[in-house]
Symmetry: C2
Subunit: 262 residues, 2 copies
């Protein structure tokens, strides 16, 4: 450890490397708090105010953060541009977008593209339905794996040890249809593997159901789930073929160079 890394003191939880501290500042920005004052950043990171101020100034100068109003900060356009280079955004999303548009246009419902992120399911794309107010989903937000159609699709294609880990962490009820019993969830996952799709009845939100199917990379790995979100009063089976076609199209496009895509 160098003098530069200890001269600020700081809370016990604060990261000790200069880079670790800067990354902690970035990580303070979340979906729940996309705009922060310097005091918030100090509280959330445990960094000494002088350190936080210096790091924020350097991040603003570079474009990773931008100042909004007086003394408030948001993530900057330059960081967005670099984040957009991630394979999930650049490769997966780009392959899936056209079939997602078609699925949204044909069904008139919200369409989601979801990937695994640690123990959670992460929305990487969301297209609007004709009635856009039914679902509060948002790109970059996450949800529990056990309590949604796309989450269960990702879980169904995860290693058994990972599934047991998720079961061990508990299956909290979020809505009337959430599967909270491990044996029932195991059976549901087997069904998803057998049928190639997932019907989800009010598992995450009351009044909202979904139909999901896996998106597969050229090597056969399931890399995402594609889902259409429908009112719980709709019969779900009629949506299955459309979702499967869109997911299959996304899978096929994933294996093809962008300039050669149909």
């Amino acid at each position: 450890m160098t003098s530069a890394e200890v001269d600020d003191g700081g809370a016990d939880e604060a990261p000790r490397s200069v880079l670790g501290r800067a990354l902690a500042v970035l990580a303070a920005f979340t979906d729940a708090s996309p705009e922060l004052a310097l005091a918030d950043i100090v509280t959330l990171t445990g960094l000494p105010p002088a350190t936080a101020h210096r790091i924020v100034a350097e991040l603003v100068a570079w474009g990773a953060l931008e100042r909004v109003g007086r003394g408030r900060y948001r993530i900057g356009l330059r960081l967005w541009r670099i984040g957009a280079l991630a394979p999930t955004a650049r490769t997966l999303r780009e392959a899936a977008l056209a079939p997602m548009q078609d699925l949204a246009a044909v069904t008139g419902h919200v369409v989601h593209l979801v990937v695994l992120d640690g123990y959670r399911a992460l929305f990487v794309e969301r297209l609007a339905g004709r009635e856009d107010h039914t679902v509060r989903s948002r790109v970059g937000r996450d949800m529990p794996l056990h309590a949604s159609g796309p989450g269960k699709v990702l879980l169904a294609h995860s290693p058994a040890a990972f599934v047991e880990e998720i079961l061990g962490r508990g299956l909290p009820r979020l809505a009337p249809g959430t599967i909270t019993d491990p044996a029932t969830l195991r059976a549901a996952l087997a069904d998803i593997r057998r049928t190639g799709h997932c019907l989800s009845h009010e598992e995450m939100t009351a009044g909202v159901s979904s139909v999901a199917a896996p998106v597969t990379a050229a090597d056969g790995r399931v890399v995402a789930a594609l889902a259409v979100v429908v009112p719980a009063t709709d019969p779900l089976p009629p949506y299955v073929p459309a979702v499967q076609v869109a997911a299959a199209t996304a899978s096929r496009r994933l294996g093809v160079r962008p300039q050669d895509r149909a």
Copy 2:
């Protein structure tokens, strides 16, 4: 400057703060080179190999980078998530997406959402048309301001001093229709302000034209341009009302809280 900041020596161009060096590593990843080996990072940043290696390891551990194959790196999902919190992605894109979907569905053509980024126009969203191979545009890529419909819309609503700066930097020809004469471009910008839209004939790519209109924030500032990309053989005026309606809808939605949007 502390010992931590000088102990590696390093090339003249290399940034001297620890954080500056880490940001330089991230900035080495671009649309043209989204995947880099450690040796590439060393070359692009001018950092000493040991420093680059240490920074890359810390960025991988945190999730800003991820390792692909052996010794190659890409931007990681965690950085994508944080980048997605930028106002451009979170607020603007979310407001514009539904009208963009409608415009793509009605016209069958590629639809772009474009913002100003320094001296360039930056694609922040791209929806597919029915024939998806006509345009090679990509989210996160940029283009010159003077040589496209959305670029000229952004320029038309920029301060006069900024326009003169762009003119002073030169107007290179990119395609048969590129405006390369300053007086002609000034007149075109005045037309855009007067009519509220822009017709662009093969300015960036031969065979491709576009119709663009401004997206306006609640305070009246033009914050983006929305454009439909059409074959150069199509007459452009019939597209104008649809593009203007979509841009107006995006503008109105920008001023409304997400949960209250129609």
